[in-house]
């Protein structure tokens, strides 16, 4: 457990390098959300902005490790390949999760202070959870590409693979719609939206689980 703690700490230290930028960005977001809240309820938008801007920063820890060839050094210490991969996934997840939590908290406080209350908070939180799941999908598609090709070489694949997946999913959905139009008419979208947090929870476990296993398989075979 200590090893994972140390590896998480190592990843976290990456943010030291741009802590000034982070503080400045948070201040800017607070200012913009405050300004936006004066016009309308932007609780959801504010929360998602935080997630998109800060939640995907964890990729930079891969970049720093690659530049310093840190994996080689880490694996020569009493650290296993499994622990290195696991710590990266924990870091990616925690970074996204904390980003959306902070986003929700900041947006909530500002919205309540400026507008007195948040409208439809349940629906807003559902949308935040959907956004979080989308970011999880992107990150979980990115990480195996990085393990396979590296941060620089894997940049293109990190875009192409999730795009291809979404494209194929779209085609599959369209085919279903053409072949079984009745199926869509029977779906209660409102009900799906209501239970979306559960679906998202399951999807997050699925994305992270599959992605972790793929990355581990790649990393176990990799010559460092």
């Amino acid at each position: 457990m200590n090893t994972i703690k140390g590896l998480l700490l190592k990843n976290l230290y990456v943010f030291k390098n741009f802590k000034g930028n982070i503080i400045f960005s948070i201040c800017m977001f607070i200012f913009l959300i405050t300004l936006g809240s004066m016009q309308s309820d932007i609780f959801t938008v504010g929360s998602i902005l935080f997630l998109i801007f800060f939640g995907m920063n964890s990729i930079s820890s891969f970049s720093y490790d690659e530049n310093a060839d840190s994996d080689k050094y880490l694996l020569s210490l009493p650290i296993t390949r499994k622990e290195v991969v696991l710590s990266k996934y924990l870091f990616v997840f925690l970074n996204s999760f904390i980003s959306i939590l902070v986003g929700i908290l900041v947006s909530f406080i500002i919205t309540v202070l400026v507008r007195g209350k948040v409208n439809n908070i349940g629906d807003s939180l559902r949308i935040c959870f959907l956004a979080f799941t989308s970011v999880s999908f992107l990150m979980c598609a990115n990480v195996p590409c990085i393990y396979k090709w590296g941060v620089e070489k894997g940049r293109m694949q990190s875009v192409i693979i999730p795009a291809l997946f979404i494209f194929l999913l779209g085609i599959f959905g369209s085919l279903l719609f053409i072949l079984f139009p009745q199926l869509y008419l029977n779906i209660d979208l409102l009900y799906v939206f209501k239970i979306s947090p559960y679906i998202c929870f399951a999807l997050n476990i699925l994305f992270y689980g599959i992605s972790y296993l793929i990355s581990l398989k790649i990393f176990l075979k990799k010559s460092i």
Partner: protein, 284 residues
């Protein structure tokens, strides 16, 4: 004899490079220097020992166990310096301490900070602002601060000034003085090994070309410098290899007393490891 490290017939084939039948036996209390030019296979050997790459043939035992079967506790008894790999350059010495104490149960913070002070390494300055010598100092410090039994050092004196090289050689000598610890170090700065190692292994193009105790080099090996016009007077069977440099020939012999008897007029002197490496690799 008990060994901290045994490499037996290690073979690794790449498309354009082959490491062939590398054998290293590192007893307790000894230091072995692995010498060779860049690209000779030193780092590949180290990588195989550290299980960073798979190998095609052979076996590697550390503390008597296959290197891929070592427990975490056993791996904690190894200290590592890698020339081209370390933590991210945005970390400072304080951060590194916080990380390392999570990786090693035996991490000795007092030793770490005392040595930082001794080495004059700043605590709060990021590694990216360090000179290459300072970076190497902190790498060496990270390799010893958990009080290991085996040090595996890949080019540990790279970028160091002569004073620190002297200090570090003292440190390594102290490290093995308990007769339990051992060091395997690679280098192409052979002068560092002159007063440090017990055994020298010369490696070239993936093969060991000479594996010899240092004391044998000191007592039995010799170099003879001969002007080009006197070259033919030395018979081929009486030397190992010779190298022509400018207007002189340098002959390496492995039995200087016998050679002296045959050629009493020629002057023989002790070879440096650098000269030996040059003649063995480039000579004929």
């Amino acid at each position: 004899m008990e060994y901290n490290l045994e490499v037996l017939n290690l073979t690794k084939n790449y498309q354009d490079f082959h490491l062939e039948n590398i054998n290293i036996k590192l007893p307790k209390g000894q230091i072995i220097g692995l010498i060779g030019e860049n690209g000779s296979g030193k780092t590949t050997t180290i990588k195989a020992i550290l299980n960073l790459i798979t190998y095609d043939k052979g076996s590697i035992k550390i503390f008597g166990k296959d290197n891929y079967n070592l427990t975490k506790e056993e791996r904690e008894k190894i200290g590592i310096v890698l020339d081209d790999s370390f933590f991210s350059p945005i970390l400072d010495a304080n951060d590194i301490n916080k990380l390392m104490k999570n990786f090693y149960h035996n991490w000795n913070e007092k030793l770490y900070f005392d040595t930082l002070k001794k080495f004059k390494i700043p605590y709060n300055k990021p590694l990216k602002e360090f000179s290459s010598g300072m970076k190497m100092k902190i790498k060496v410090l990270c390799a010893i601060a958990h009080e290991p039994k085996l040090l595996i050092l890949d080019e540990p004196t790279n970028g160091l000034d002569p004073i620190f090289r002297y200090e570090i050689i003292e440190l390594f000598n102290n490290f093995v003085s308990n007769k339990e610890n051992s060091i395997l170090m690679t280098t192409h700065i052979t002068s560092d090994l002159e007063h440090l190692v017990n055994e020298v292994i010369f490696i070239d193009e993936g093969k060991i070309i000479l594996d010899i105790p240092k004391v044998k080099i000191d007592n039995e090996y010799g170099i003879i410098e001969v002007l080009a016009n006197n070259f033919s007077q030395i018979k081929k069977d009486d030397y190992i290899k010779c190298l022509k440099y400018k207007n002189e020939y340098y002959f390496l012999v492995n039995s200087k007393d016998e050679f002296q008897k045959k050629y009493p007029k020629l002057e023989i002197r002790k070879p440096t490891l650098e000269e030996m490496m040059l003649i063995l690799v480039k000579g004929e």
